[in-house]
């Protein structure tokens, strides 16, 4: 007991812990001398605890239980009082008295506050940077060892990813979309570095850029330009795709294993329309014709103007029998349509089925040859040219 008293005196002499004794009515019975420093006014015997320590308001019942139950303790941590930080602990002293220990933790808390301030500011900065990164184009951050360490929200959203690890599970490798037999991201970097590369993913076009970050990482940026490129690939007069876009689609199609049929369309005797009604009327007819066809094909069929009165159509995922039925429908549609300025006109169609070993030229050559035969056979018909 003597030792405990010595320890208590030592602690009290260092002004680290002060004490207050209270009765069941929460009236102050006694206190250590230095407790006043935590208070706005000088503590006096007989003071109401709650007016000195509003921190205990709401906890009155809990404190009263302590008088009855010696094992109960009520604590409040890190309370700012009169320029000090204190921990306050209410303990059972005897059945009529409770002891409140006030532990000065100012130095420790101020150190913690500095750390917390630094940590919070770092989190805020990090969150802001994260938002900036997520608002940018799709970003992919890769180590020299081909390990993807970061992708931003735009990237995740486009590829329907919930977390980076899914990239591995889905075996998603951006360089494979380039169709250049690249084996890893290092090879992609070597190819793209210092220039821009167009990347086709599904129906979207991206501009791919690569940047070296230190000696250890590479940052790939994918900027979606689908709308822009489509707009640039649209024929001004007819509103359908230009031949250049069609060629890109055809090349992509040839790399796939799906069935497809290429159709070349040519308006019959268009020269006579121009001669008889003038070029302005000719332009109107081309516009009306293009719109008629465009409105009667599927959304994923690609329809383009080759030049003059000649048009191209890709029917993907379609066998030749269905393609011929569809083209016959289109032929009849034109044949029965009353064009606003010229009334009746017809179209000839040449069809070629995509075969193994085909390239753009061979496929186009067969479809064009079929068209030639359709014209020679009397026009307003379709001809399918086998390999």
């Amino acid at each position: 007991m003597k030792n405990i008293q010595k320890i208590l005196n030592a602690v009290l002499s260092k002004n680290i812990i002060e004490y207050i004794l209270i009765d069941k009515d929460l009236i102050v019975l006694d206190s250590s001398k230095e407790v006043d420093k935590y208070l706005e006014k000088k503590l006096q015997i007989g003071d109401d605890l709650l007016s000195l320590f509003p921190e205990f308001v709401g906890a009155e019942e809990k404190i009263k239980e302590i008088f009855e139950e010696p094992t109960l303790i009520y604590t409040l941590e890190s309370v700012y009082k009169n320029d000090y930080y204190v921990n306050m602990c209410v303990e059972h002293y005897d059945e009529e008295t409770a002891l409140i220990l006030v532990h000065n933790i100012t130095d420790r808390t101020l150190s913690q506050q500095k750390l917390l301030q630094y940590s919070n500011e770092s989190i805020l900065l990090n969150n802001t940077l994260q938002k900036i990164l997520d608002s940018q184009n799709a970003l992919l951050f890769v180590t020299n060892k081909d390990e993807i360490t970061y992708v931003n929200e735009q990237f995740m959203e486009y590829f329907s990813l919930k977390r980076v690890s899914e990239l591995k599970r889905r075996n998603l490798k951006i360089y494979e979309y380039l169709d250049a037999n690249l084996k890893d991201y290092n090879a992609l970097f070597e190819r793209v570095n210092d220039k821009e590369e167009y990347l086709l993913i599904g129906n979207d076009t991206f501009i791919l850029k690569a940047t070296s970050i230190e000696e250890t990482h590479k940052l790939f940026t994918l900027t979606k330009v689908t709308k822009l490129t489509k707009y640039m690939q649209i024929d001004n007069l007819t509103g359908v795709y230009k031949k250049s876009y069609f060629n890109a689609c055809l090349e992509r199609l040839l790399r796939k294993k799906t069935e497809a049929v290429l159709v070349v369309l040519d308006i019959d005797d268009f020269k006579h329309i121009n001669d008889q009604y003038g070029h302005q009327t000719g332009d109107s007819v081309l516009k009306e014709f293009a719109s008629l066809i465009q409105n009667n094909i599927r959304g994923n069929d690609v329809f383009a103007r080759w030049g003059g009165e000649e048009f191209l159509l890709i029917l993907e995922n379609t066998n030749i029998e269905n393609a011929m039925m569809k083209v016959e429908q289109l032929r009849r549609l034109v044949d029965t349509h009353i064009f606003k300025e010229i009334g009746h006109m017809t179209v000839s169609f040449g069809l070629a089925k995509k075969e193994e070993g085909d390239d753009v030229h061979s496929l186009l050559f067969r479809a064009d040859k079929a068209l030639y035969e359709a014209k020679n056979a009397g026009k307003n018909r379709l001809v399918f040219k086998k390999m």
């Binding site: 509003p54 308001v57 906890a59 809990k62 941590e77 890190s78 309370v79 913690q112 917390l116 919070n120």
Partner: protein
């Protein structure tokens, strides 16, 4: 005189201390100084003829790694949940703050502050879904700060 304990709760750096400072002292400081632990302020006000001493507990904000000590919640009659309109995540975390508080104080009342409203454009301001107990506030511009506390007191006294 009635005495009521209320808490300001929310993520760190949403402006809890600034709201208290604006309400108690009528001042504002742009510099962010993180609160640690709890600081209690008193304010006596009369609402609908009833004099009330508010004990305002400005509690440190919760961070992803540090949750608020449950001891602070004991005996509270009300709470002001504070979010920062410039940080969507603070709004997303609102529900969690409410659940923890109401679990400790099932009968308590609360209001919500969408703080830092001075940062919103007119269009963004219109888009913010404020309702009966939700206030667009700005400690900086002294917007709706007093109203926020008074409305909470009204609810607690009702």
């Amino acid at each position: 005189m009635i005495r009521k304990k209320i808490l300001l709760l929310g993520d760190f750096s949403v402006g809890k201390t600034s709201l208290v400072r604006r309400y108690i002292d009528g001042t504002f400081d742009d510099k962010y100084l993180t609160t640690i632990g709890v600081k209690i302020s008193k304010k006596v006000l009369t609402v609908e003829g009833v004099e009330c001493e508010l004990l305002i507990w400005d509690v440190e904000g919760s961070t992803p790694s540090k949750k608020i000590s449950l001891g602070y919640y004991r005996g509270a009659s009300g709470a002001i949940f504070v979010t920062d309109v410039t940080r969507r995540e603070t709004l997303d975390n609102l529900q969690e703050h409410k659940e923890i508080f109401l679990a400790e104080n099932p009968g308590a009342q609360y209001v919500t502050a969408y703080n830092k409203a001075d940062m919103l454009s007119d269009i963004a301001r219109e888009r913010m879904a404020v309702g009966e107990d939700i206030f667009l506030t700005s400690a900086k511009e002294d917007e709706n700060v007093e109203k926020l506390f008074v409305e909470l007191v009204k609810k607690m006294l009702a």
